[in-house]
């Protein structure tokens, strides 16, 4: 245990009890949302949790922000146990959830923010100064005196994000901060997140995302999480480096009824194949053990009379890392998950 970890968890787990459904007796009564999570985030890091919907990201954030009790294990934030020492943890943290519209709609943007500054014990004058600065940064200055009910969802979310940064937390938690924001706004938020963390080495920021690019371009380190388990945790570069030996190809092929991913899965050296049909053509994505395997793939296509329209080799992405770890893409995993637990 080092005092310099901003966030530290050991064997952290969380089980939700589900309501009993009289009609479906065979339904499980419990849902394991997190299990055996061991994380160490250094002070000063911008840390990302990447995983599909339902992976357990929000659950982890809730535990770390003292809102939810863990079922097993423990977690410390800024050196304090989040379950037993909530009073010590709370002044040092803040949290923002994306994709929801919270806030007092009857208050203006400035009033909403000022109010929270008071709950964190800030002096009014100092708070107003900082609020106005942040409003300018996020392009909200002309909305400062608008009732927040009259803001679009995106602008409300920006207000919420300002609320998180405003109180000067040592550890800031952002749960899908760019969810529901347009491209420009997302870029602004990412830029600010990066600058905020770099400005002061005492600041630690943990964000969750199910956007690969966000994790890849923004975060110092990323933990890939799926079905409540952390599958890998490293810098984006190192995670992708694991796949460097492998060859990743995208092939556009002529549409061919009867072409299935299964036709390639049995070929030796094919780690993963994904087939996406489009109007008039199909796309095949391969992760191959080495480039030489490609010839076998091409042979299979030729045998089936499928024409290759385009072939590109590309660098591995975090999506590929996910696919290699889990065996399917995040989108597929989300679909499978939602069928599995009936949400």
């Amino acid at each position: 245990m080092s005092a310099d970890y901003s966030i530290e968890t050991e064997s952290l787990g969380r089980v939700y009890r589900l309501r009993e459904n009289k009609k479906k007796k065979d339904q499980p009564r419990e849902l394991v949302a997190l299990s055996g999570v061991n994380l160490q985030v250094q002070r000063g890091e911008l840390f990302g949790l990447l995983g599909p919907n339902g992976a357990g990201k929000t659950t982890l954030i809730k535990i770390l922000t003292t809102l939810l009790a863990p079922s097993t294990g423990w977690a410390k934030v800024a050196g304090y146990d989040v379950h037993r020492e909530t009073v010590k943890v709370r002044p040092l943290i803040n949290m923002v959830s994306g994709g929801e519209s919270s806030g007092y709609g009857l208050l203006t943007v400035r009033e909403n923010l000022w109010m929270f500054s008071q709950f964190y014990g800030m002096q009014s004058a100092e708070a107003y100064k900082y609020i106005d600065e942040l409003l300018a940064t996020f392009g909200l200055t002309d909305r400062a005196n608008t009732k927040s009910a009259d803001l679009s969802t995106g602008l409300r979310q920006k207000m919420n994000i300002i609320r998180g940064f405003m109180t000067g937390p040592e550890v800031l938690f952002l749960d899908e901060p760019t969810l529901g924001l347009d491209v420009g706004a997302s870029r602004d938020v990412r830029g600010f997140v990066r600058r905020w963390t770099d400005e002061n080495p005492r600041r630690t920021l943990l964000l969750t995302t199910h956007t690969m690019v966000e994790a890849d371009e923004l975060c110092d380190r990323v933990a890939i999480i799926n079905r409540g388990k952390v599958l890998a945790c490293d810098t984006p570069a190192a995670l992708k480096h694991e796949l460097q030996q492998e060859a990743i190809f995208n092939l556009d092929v002529s549409a061919q009824n009867g072409l299935e991913a299964a036709h390639f899965e049995t070929l030796p050296g094919v780690h993963k194949v994904q087939l996406t049909p489009f109007d008039g053509h199909s796309q095949l994505q391969f992760i191959l053990a080495e480039e030489a395997v490609l010839s076998a793939v091409v042979n299979t296509l030729t045998e089936r009379d499928v024409t290759i329209l385009n072939l590109t080799k590309r660098e591995p992405t975090l999506e590929d890392v996910f696919v290699t770890l889990v065996g399917r893409s995040m989108a597929e995993e989300e679909k499978a998950g939602s069928n599995g637990n009936g949400h």
Binding site: R17, T66, L67, L107, F119, G121
Partner: protein
Amino acid sequence: MNLRSFRTAAWLGWKIESNWTDPFLFAVYSIIKPLAGAAILVVMYSIITKGDFTNPLFPYIYLGNAFYMYVGAVMTGVSWAIIDDREHYRTLKYMYVAPIRIPLYLIGRAVARFLTGSFSVFITIVFGALFLHVPIEVAQVDWLLFSVSLLMGVVLLALMGLTLAGITLLLARHSDYLGDAVAGGLYLFSGAVFPLDVLPAWLRPIGYAMPITYWLELLRRSLVGSVAQAFPTLASLSNNQLLAILGGMIVLAAFIAVITFRYCDHQARERGYIDRTTNY
């Protein structure tokens, strides 16, 4: 820091309470609503007693009813903030993450309702004194007793509100009316609209166990000393004895509030209810 967040919570409560597009309508509403409530009571009383407004029962009922408005305002005001923040504004989790004492915050949120409630009570009583012969002589009022009793009552109601707030934390669905239900239930057993003697003997102990019973009695005595003597319920007790009983019950209410709120708060975090919203 505690004081500042309490003040800010009170400010927020006031903003919410007075969120009327037209302040004039807000003022009219604040006057009409309590008077309408009192009017119903007066009409019913007048029908049942064939207009006997000189009976001491009338001021008894009138004042009990007027001060009972505080129960709805303060007690329900405290617990309602949980529902309001969790379901409506979706901010309860942010309040929880903030370094504030949630009970203090909740009580702060109810200050506005205490103020508007006080206004309602005042209007109702002035109206009663001016037009309905409620025998209040300003010179005869025991102001010290009145102030002390009122203060104790507000503390009591805030503590009861906290207990209710704790329970509300654990009830997600349809808990909107819990506060009203409790306030309504206590109404009949607190000597607000009729003396406990009217109740069947086996129901009276409920009334004697209710701190609000003693509080209302003290307020009546402080305003119209004579009324209290007309009913045997608590007549054998002196003002000081009543104050002592009320004080003891407040201590008990504080214990219950602290224990209940702590327990429910803990349970809410165990079960993940802090940010649970009901999807209708």
